[in-house]
């Protein structure tokens, strides 16, 4: 333990050695590249969460289907059959379910990601890992629940006359892409904010409800337009624009284009400028993701002391 001028050593060390045995600041800089380097732990955490969720249920993984199935049945019978929307929208079941399973994926992503840092506080406080692994593992868990629902959608659509088109494939990929980018962007941001203000997770209870009713998941945009524009005039046009020009409406409509429109004769219910919105909201999602990663990087510095 001699005293030494550490500044000199750090500087001369930088010149002398490289690689793993170079002096460096412990922990990381908080970039997303570190997550790629830690992909083993990422996949282990995702696997742990999937396993934990179903360990205490006799239905096991089938439990993942119960919530969307019940939601689907309620929407189908109440809105479709009782309120009669089924007579206006051909093949209403596939119309609803294609939007529902995509929004379920989105809401799962946001929910898992937002709670992830606080839930894993024992690790975050004691061991350094790139903290983004926790919200990203949440996205992977959400995806693992989306895949079986997606298969059910495929079965339902095929049974009602769905056929393959390249446009449909592009629309499906774009729909999932928009949801993943926005889900990850908002999930990263909310997971970090939730460390400082725990009540953020209370808002999650609302997101499922809001996304179902503020997108064309249940009712086609034409129905919304026919009420808003004549009744409210300019304000109605502005509301309608906001209703159409948002990432979730875009994603839902892309899924309608991919899985519902091939099964019906008339699909004028699809909203206009769909592909333009797809490009805009995917691009914008990437920008928002970059911004939320930037904020996450700053907020995560004090995670260990706030938890």
């Amino acid at each position: 333990m001699t005293t030494l001028d550490t500044r000199t050593e750090i500087e001369s060390d930088d010149l002398a050695t490289g690689g793993k045995h170079r002096l460096h600041e412990p922990g990381g800089r908080g970039g997303l590249i570190e997550v790629v380097r830690h992909r083993t732990v990422l996949s282990m955490l995702a696997r742990r969460d999937v396993r934990m969720r179903y360990r205490y249920s006799s239905l096991g993984f089938a439990w993942a289907y119960v919530k969307p199935t019940i939601q689907f049945l309620v929407y189908y019978f109440i809105i479709g059959v009782v309120l009669g929307l089924e007579r206006r929208v051909e093949n209403f079941a596939v119309y609803v379910f294609s939007g529902l399973c995509l929004l379920f994926f989105f809401n799962e992503t946001i929910g898992n990601a937002t709670r992830s840092i606080v839930k894993n506080r024992a690790i975050v406080k004691k061991i350094w890992l790139p903290r983004q692994v926790f919200p990203i593992a949440g996205v992977i868990v959400a995806a693992s629940r989306f895949v079986p629902q997606f298969l059910i959608l495929m079965i339902g659509a095929t049974a009602t006359g769905w056929y393959f088109t390249w446009t449909g494939l592009a629309a499906a990929v774009a729909g999932v892409g928009v949801v993943v980018v926005w889900g990850l962007a908002l999930g990263l941001l909310l997971s970090a904010v939730n460390v400082y203000l725990r009540e953020v997770q209370n808002f999650l209870e609302l997101t499922g409800f809001l996304t179902h009713w503020l997108t064309p998941m249940i009712k086609p945009w034409t129905l919304v337009a026919s009420r808003l524009v004549p009744d409210l005039g300019l304000a109605g046009v502005m509301l309608l624009t906001a209703y159409l020009w948002n990432p979730l409406t875009t994603a839902v409509e892309l899924f309608h284009l991919a899985f519902w429109s091939p099964t019906v004769d008339y699909y004028f219910e699809l909203s206009p400028y769909l592909w333009t919105r797809a490009y805009v909201f995917f691009g914008l999602g990437v920008v928002v993701l970059a911004g939320s990663q930037w904020l996450f990087k700053r907020l995560q510095v004090r995670f260990a002391e706030e938890l």
Partner: protein, 244 residues
């Protein structure tokens, strides 16, 4: 000899917060500056540890030892000053931090090794050694919550020591476990020290520290009050009995 850890003029303070809701945060924004809500955990701490050295961190409860380990492991960042390290770190700041009570021991070994930076293949290679070191062969498919606290920490320690880090941080973890396992840990730590592992350890058992460390840093209220040979540090702290 080059340094494994260099801490230079590091300070760390904590803000005591009472506002976890938006309303509280708005109401309290003036109180933020109130100095009585700020705890200075470390103040202007400088020292360095050579590669292969064993360093004891000593001081009373609340003197900043654990905060210092967290700065070295990268879990926290200093408010001012710098921390530099060389090589890989395994922080045993808390035994079993990455252990999940609902997972089986087998699942926990893989998960915890991954958290400490090992790949699945590396863990598979070490798996038998980890299990036999922890002495948990019979409990491999038992959920960790059914283990006794001693077994739990044995599992945590065993995984951590088998990652063979360049720098090993240990925070009072050897306080748990029975005497036989403590001796086993001590032997494992000595074996790793011989291979060139750097060790920074917080412990109150002077007998243990004597075997593992040649030097010590003594903290008091966040400041370094002594650094030098362990034997002299014992005089400063007055812990020259067996520490208990």
């Amino acid at each position: 000899m080059s340094s494994a850890v260099i801490v230079r003029e590091a300070s760390k303070s904590f803000q005591l917060r009472h506002d976890f809701t938006i309303r509280d945060a708005l109401a309290n924004r003036r109180k933020r500056q109130d100095p009585s809500n700020i705890v200075q955990a470390l103040e202007d701490v400088s020292f360095h540890v050579d590669q292969g050295e064993g360093l004891a961190l000593m001081g009373q409860n609340g003197s900043g030892k654990s905060t210092l380990l967290k700065l070295i492991s990268g879990v926290m960042q200093p408010d001012s000053g710098t921390v530099h390290v060389r090589g890989t770190i395994a922080g045993l700041i808390d035994v079993g931090a990455g252990l999940h009570p609902e997972l089986t021991c087998r699942e926990n070994i893989y998960l915890n090794s991954a958290i400490l930076g090992m790949t699945r293949a590396q863990t598979a290679t070490n798996f038998d050694a980890i299990v036999s070191f922890a002495g948990l062969e019979r409990f491999l498919d038992t959920q960790a919550r059914f283990l006794s606290s001693g077994m739990f920490s044995r599992l945590g320690f065993s995984v951590a020591i088998h990652t063979e880090p360049d720098i090993f941080l240990v925070d009072e973890v050897l306080a748990v476990g029975d005497g036989q396992f403590k001796r086993k840990c001590r032997r494992a730590l000595i074996a790793q020290r011989v291979k060139g592992m750097t060790l920074i350890i917080v412990a109150h058992e002077v007998d243990l520290l004597r075997r593992l460390c040649s030097n010590a840093v003594v903290l008091d209220q966040g400041r370094v009050v002594f650094q030098g040979p362990l034997a002299d540090a014992e005089k400063v702290t007055g812990d020259d009995d067996d520490g208990n």
